[in-house]
């Protein structure tokens, strides 16, 4: 009691709803879809946040790094983005878009907030980077998963196969499908003349 008094008089106040909050966070954990992950995050499950970071952390970091050109700033943005997910997960509405789209847009916005320079140039660079990130994120989940491990983590097909639980041949096939699905990124852009 004495130790409480020493600090408490100056610093403390009641925390009336601690018990209520404490009892409200034991949600079941099955889901593997993004939306289910966000529901689990909203329920206070740290493992779900970890899973979301494993799934999209590299993409978010890469996007932030591209826009900011600075590793330290990109890391700050990524931390901020995932912390925002933690705080705002309960506001997520699946009808308004995919989780990864939300994440990419949030990353872009946070990065742009840090940027200085010619606004049109910043906007153009951000739009291009966001477009490529979304092309990656829009791949079917099995293709996205193997591409993420091969592209960002640099893992060979055999190791990717171990991670995702399919034969190496299936990994190679999915990588082919993924790159075929993103062919338009490499095609020359049509010039739109006004």
């Amino acid at each position: 009691v004495g130790s409480r008094a020493a600090v408490g008089a100056a610093l403390t106040a009641a925390c009336a709803n601690i018990a209520a909050v404490e009892g409200a966070t034991d949600a079941p954990a099955p889901a593997d879809t993004d939306a289910a992950l966000v529901r689990r995050i909203a329920a206070g499950e740290h493992d779900a946040l970890r899973e979301l970071y494993a799934r999209y952390g590299a993409l978010a970091h890469s996007l932030a790094r591209r826009l900011l050109g600075d590793r330290q700033l990109a890391e700050e943005v990524v931390q901020d983005v995932f912390f925002t997910f933690w705080r705002q997960a309960r506001r997520y509405d699946p009808d308004r878009g995919r989780v990864v789209t939300w994440l990419i847009r949030l990353t872009r916005n946070r990065a742009v907030e840090q940027l200085r320079g010619d606004p049109p140039a910043v906007a153009a660079a951000a739009a291009e980077a966001e477009g490529v990130a979304r092309a990656v994120a829009d791949l079917p989940v099995p293709q996205f998963e193997v591409l993420r491990l091969a592209y960002f983590d640099g893992l060979p097909p055999a190791e990717v196969a171990e991670r995702v639980g399919v034969p190496p041949g299936a990994v190679q096939a999915r990588l082919r499908l993924a790159l075929n699905g993103m062919r338009s990124l490499a095609e020359p852009r049509e010039r739109v003349e006004g």
Partner: protein
């Protein structure tokens, strides 16, 4: 490697992730087969387009690795409000990844404080002070029965030096259940007490007046 396998391996080769022997074999086959070569070129163009925009780097695991400290600059009272959320983000993710900063087998602390609920609740724990006489003084906080923070709130650790009436912030965290974290202290000094407050995300860098737990160093 059959012709079919070679074709399947083209994308992995364009991504540069095939083992050397398989990569050599794909190159040889592609040099003899125009269709394969064209397909490989197409994949390489796509990979180049990706690389031009998205640097190929894994997610930075070191941000959340065990033992990572909250950077000192973010722990000082002069922390900018914008960064408060970032600091909290670090702490949330540190907690989320189950990070535990243990000093098992390490030196004895210079001081210890039993942490008890400031106003109800079941939270209990202790705070250990290391190297209090040095500029790199550190604080280890261990808590159990930590309630999940209220929405858009986090916890902040404060210390009170002997002879001062102003609590100094040393770091933030978010956790539920058990928490253990290490924080950098503002510097050398005689620390009298510690308090864990409940703070609103992005709020003012001042004590909110609401405490989760507190204790005095002995």
């Amino acid at each position: 490697v059959s012709a079919f396998d070679t074709r399947q391996a083209l994308a992995a080769h364009a991504l540069g992730v095939l083992p050397d022997d398989e990569a050599r074999e794909v190159e040889e086959r592609a040099s003899e087969d125009r269709d394969l070569a064209r397909e490989l070129d197409r994949y390489r163009a796509t990979v180049r387009a990706l690389e031009r925009v998205l640097p190929r780097e894994p997610a930075p695991a070191h941000l959340f690795e065990a033992g990572r400290k909250v950077p000192r600059a973010w722990s000082l009272p002069s922390v900018r409000p914008r960064h408060l959320a970032v600091v909290a983000g670090v702490a949330v993710l540190v907690a989320a990844l189950g990070v535990v900063v243990l000093r098992g087998g390490g030196p004895e602390p210079d001081a210890r404080a039993e942490l008890i609920p400031a106003s109800g609740g079941r939270v209990r724990g202790e705070a250990l002070l290391f190297d209090a006489g040095r500029d790199d003084a550190r604080l280890v906080v261990r808590l159990r029965n930590v309630p999940a923070p209220e929405p858009e709130h986090h916890y902040q650790v404060w210390v009170l030096r002997v002879g001062t009436g102003t609590p100094e912030p040393v770091g933030v965290f978010s956790a539920r259940g058990e928490f253990e974290g290490e924080f950098s202290l503002p510097g050398r000094g005689r620390y009298a007490a510690l308090d864990v407050s409940i703070e609103e995300d992005g709020g003012e860098p001042e004590h909110s007046g609401r405490s989760l737990a507190a204790g005095t160093f002995t």
